[in-house]
């Protein structure tokens, strides 16, 4: 008990893992990780890792769910059974159903669904490792996977959470901050439009604190957005390289 009380999550403006209050965990973003999907990506922020696959646009089943004027966007968020301390039973839970639904709604606002009437675009997100902000990591992976599949979007969505820990507003809650912290505020943000596409909040927070946290989360999303764009450029750089080398080969053929 005493030990717990004495354990501080923030000391001298630094968090328990050494980060500044407005610092995101190290990120890793990569596309093309699932060869048999139309598009795919893996996104990690610290020890939270999500993988996403996109199938489609393809014929929509069941047929009665076909929409004659736009594609139907399906979004499934799931946890690998070994992603958390206690094994997660496979299959949808109430929690995963809700996250899938709010994430789907977020992407609905950026994907140009009208380009693919009657089809289904299916996004499958799986959290391989969970250390807070799994829905955010999932959205970031899905964003890249949709781009990797060549599906036109108004912008990449980026997602990040802010929180309140020992009364202070911090970015990208993780580890003990998640279990001991007071507030979790995950958002998804569309920089080009300055729009909030997802927002959930848990915990006691004043209006002023909320404003500060929202702004911080937004800045986090902007940073993540850059990371996603870079990862996609990396992909296109590879493609460009292949194209140029293909051209060189063409030349050699001549």
């Amino acid at each position: 008990m005493m030990a717990e009380e004495s354990k501080k999550l923030i000391t001298g403006g630094r968090r328990i893992d050494g980060r500044a209050l407005d610092e995101i965990r190290p990120m890793a973003a990569r596309t093309g990780v699932i060869a048999r999907a139309n598009g795919s990506a893996q996104f990690a922020m610290g020890d939270t890792v999500a993988i996403a696959a996109v199938h489609g646009p393809r014929e929509m089943h069941p047929k009665h769910m076909q929409d004659p004027v736009r594609a139907y966007l399906k979004y499934t968020y799931a946890m690998a059974p070994f992603a958390t301390q206690d094994r997660v039973k496979p299959g949808p839970s109430r929690r995963s159903t809700e996250i899938s639904d709010v994430s789907r709604q977020a992407f609905n606002s950026v994907v140009f669904l009208e380009e693919y009437p009657k089809t289904g675009i299916e996004v499958y997100v799986e959290v391989l490792q969970a250390n807070a902000s799994t829905r955010c990591a999932g959205i970031n992976a899905a964003s890249m996977a949709l781009a990797d599949a060549g599906i036109p979007m108004a912008d990449l969505i980026a997602s990040c959470s802010a929180g309140k820990v020992e009364g202070q507003i911090v970015l990208d809650v993780a580890g003990e901050e998640d279990t001991e912290g007071e507030v979790d505020l995950p958002i998804a943000y569309i920089p080009r439009r300055d729009e909030i596409a997802l927002l959930q909040m848990d915990g006691l927070i004043t209006l002023e604190e909320f404003k500060k946290a929202l702004e911080l989360a937004k800045q986090g999303c902007i940073k993540i957005h850059e990371t996603l764009v870079d990862a996609l450029k990396e992909k296109y750089r590879h493609i460009e390289l292949s194209v140029s080398s293909a051209r060189s080969e063409d030349k050699e053929d001549v």
């Binding site: 809700e98 639904d101 729009e195 909030i196 927002l199 959930q200 006691l204 909320f210 929202l214």
Partner: protein, 262 residues
């Protein structure tokens, strides 16, 4: 579902600052709370908001606590959108909409810490009270989220804890005291119709909306939020909307307290 034409009409009205029902954008329909409506529940409340009617019932049982909260009772909120309440609702396992309704109401109550879960511990690690709050919409006339959240908190306020028999099983119908609420969390959902933001939509308005934001708050604090819908809010708009939801919640809270006789 409403027709495209109806939707257009509602949006056009909203653009002009009007609602078909004549209400102001931030005006709720008359709120009525009937406590104890379902007599076999330990607590219950029927909430009427215009045509919207939601019944919430609380059942208590005795069970084992979760391992990581071994000294606390368990609170569960469940919602079914049974087909009786709307021609749009389908039979079968809870839809994503029903799950969201339950979870948003659950978080509003849980995060506000209005229920003292430690007081619901009977024997640490072994026996605690399990509180099941069931949200049962009787008619979906729009804004089930706010009506359901108010019904849940009113039903909890109405809850009597039964006495236990010698085997430690609850004797339903007996009264060992009221469940105590430390706060009254109130959800207010803001709907975005085009560029307008309205509160407490009726069914057609809710269908015409692009996005919504539910803000649950207690005195001095926000405690839970949830954005829904395929449309979005600008980031400064979110702040304004949250402020007005917080303000309206205070207003509703005193109406609720009146109805509960607090």
């Amino acid at each position: 579902m409403i027709t495209k034409l109806d939707k257009e009409f509602i949006r056009t009205l909203a653009r002009d600052g009007k609602r078909e029902n004549g209400r102001r954008f931030d005006e709720f329909r008359p709120l009525k709370i009937e406590l104890g409506y379902a007599k076999n529940a330990e607590g219950s409340a029927l909430v009427t908001l215009g045509e919207t009617r939601v019944l919430a019932g609380v059942k208590l049982s005795v069970g084992t606590p979760f391992a990581d909260t071994a000294n606390e009772g368990v609170l569960m909120v469940n919602a079914e959108l049974g087909p009786k309440a709307s021609p749009e609702f389908e039979a079968g396992p809870p839809s994503a909409q029903a799950i969201e309704l339950a979870r948003v109401i659950d978080r509003g109550i849980r995060e506000s810490k209005c229920v003292d879960l430690e007081a619901l511990c009977i024997t640490p690690k072994e026996k605690v009270w399990i509180i099941s709050v069931d949200i049962d919409p009787l008619n979906d006339g729009g804004n089930l989220m706010d009506a359901g959240g108010i019904a849940a908190i009113a039903a909890l306020y109405n809850t009597k804890i039964p006495k236990l028999d010698e085997d430690g099983r609850p004797m339903f119908g007996t009264d060992a005291g009221r469940l105590k609420l430390r706060k009254i969390p109130v959800p207010v959902t803001i709907y975005k119709i085009g560029s307008a933001v309205v509160m407490d939509p009726d069914f057609e308005e809710a269908e015409a909306a692009d996005a919504r934001l539910t803000v649950t708050s207690v005195d001095g604090f926000l405690c839970a939020m949830q954005k829904g819908g395929t449309g979005n809010f600008k980031s400064d708009e979110v702040v304004r909307v949250v402020e007005s939801a917080y303000g309206k919640a205070a207003e509703l809270r005193s109406a609720i307290k009146d109805a509960l006789g607090i």
